[in-house]
């Protein structure tokens, strides 16, 4: 299926906020409540059959022009189907004070580490995750470095001077 057909198939069967295909990347934005259903649909509907969660990440829109007041985080799923050789990007938006997204570990085990990384870097939590610990940094680390308001040179050394 090409991108437009994928978008159609998802739009028919689920509530979506918006879709676009900027530069040929089929993209669906859904609400957080609809997310588990949409993801399950993507994996299980035979016409879609997205059997791989290629990537899961987040973007902090705190300083993005025109989005300063909107929901701060966007969690981004990149799905790929081995059967049909097509891709889709699913996004959902959450606010800073309610940064929780349902976990996708039950659908794809690959979500496990990706979600831990998003928690580590952005501080977005995933409800239902079996072991939501920091993946790359250490537990003593305070804050989430990929947030736009974390200065790049704020060091938190375990030993040695902080400089």
């Amino acid at each position: 299926m090409d991108g437009a057909a994928v978008l159609d198939a998802i739009r028919q069967r689920a509530d979506v906020v918006e879709t676009h295909a900027h530069r040929g990347d089929a993209t669906v934005v859904v609400t957080r409540d609809a997310l588990p259903r949409v993801l399950a649909l993507c994996r299980d509907a035979p016409a879609l059959a997205f059997d791989m969660l290629m990537d899961l990440t987040a973007v902090d829109y705190l300083k993005y022009p025109g989005r300063e007041d909107g929901p701060r985080f966007e969690v981004v799923y990149h799905l790929y189907s081995l059967v049909h050789n097509h891709r889709v990007r699913i996004k959902t938006r959450v606010d800073e004070d309610d940064a929780v997204v349902p976990s996708a570990v039950g659908l794809w085990p690959s979500a496990n580490w990706f979600e831990r990384e998003v928690w580590d870097m952005f501080g977005v939590r995933f409800s239902g995750h079996p072991n939501l610990m920091r993946l790359l940094l250490y537990e003593e680390f305070v804050g989430h470095p990929l947030r736009k308001d974390y200065p790049i040179d704020r060091r938190q050394p375990l030993i040695g001077p902080a400089q």
Partner: protein, 152 residues
């Protein structure tokens, strides 16, 4: 100069000479520099010629700690621990600019030079240093070993 001090300085020299050709290194390899370290250690550049060909994979049996690659704050306590486990006499080589100063990783994750945690004897800059400069650094270390006051 009394005969005694003449004798100890000659002994120092002899020990220095022996030590400089029996470098047992512990490669603490973390990152990209490790690739260049491999290249230097293998047949093409052959650091065996300097008596430094044999890595010991236990810090307790090694004399020279080669810190090869970026040290992150998460890794820093491990490096310190390895250094503390080495027995005297011991030397440290900072291999690559990341270990010397943090390199171009000036950010929250990276230690800005391992000399903030452990003492360093020889710095080999480069990102990564070419095998030729590694060999140069190694020879500098040999000079240092040979000429310093020996403790035994």
């Amino acid at each position: 100069m009394g005969i005694g001090s003449f004798f100890t300085s000659k002994l120092d020299e002899a020990i220095g000479w022996a030590r400089k050709y029996s470098i047992f290194q512990y490669p603490f390899v973390t990152a990209c520099c490790g690739m260049e370290y491999m290249a230097t250690a293998c047949s093409h550049y052959d650091i065996d010629r300097f008596g430094a060909g044999l890595p010991r994979f236990s810090p307790r049996q090694a004399d020279v700690l080669f810190v090869v690659g970026t040290i992150s704050h998460k890794m820093a306590p491990v490096l310190k621990r390895v250094y503390d486990q080495m027995t005297e006499p011991k030397w440290v080589v900072a291999f690559g600019v990341c270990t010397c100063t943090g390199g171009f990783y000036n950010n929250y994750a990276t230690v800005q030079g391992i000399d903030t945690i452990i003492p360093v004897d020889v710095y080999i800059p480069g990102c990564p240093p070419r095998p030729e400069s590694v060999i140069d650094g190694l020879m500098k270390l040999q000079d240092k070993i040979a000429t310093q006051t020996q403790r035994y």
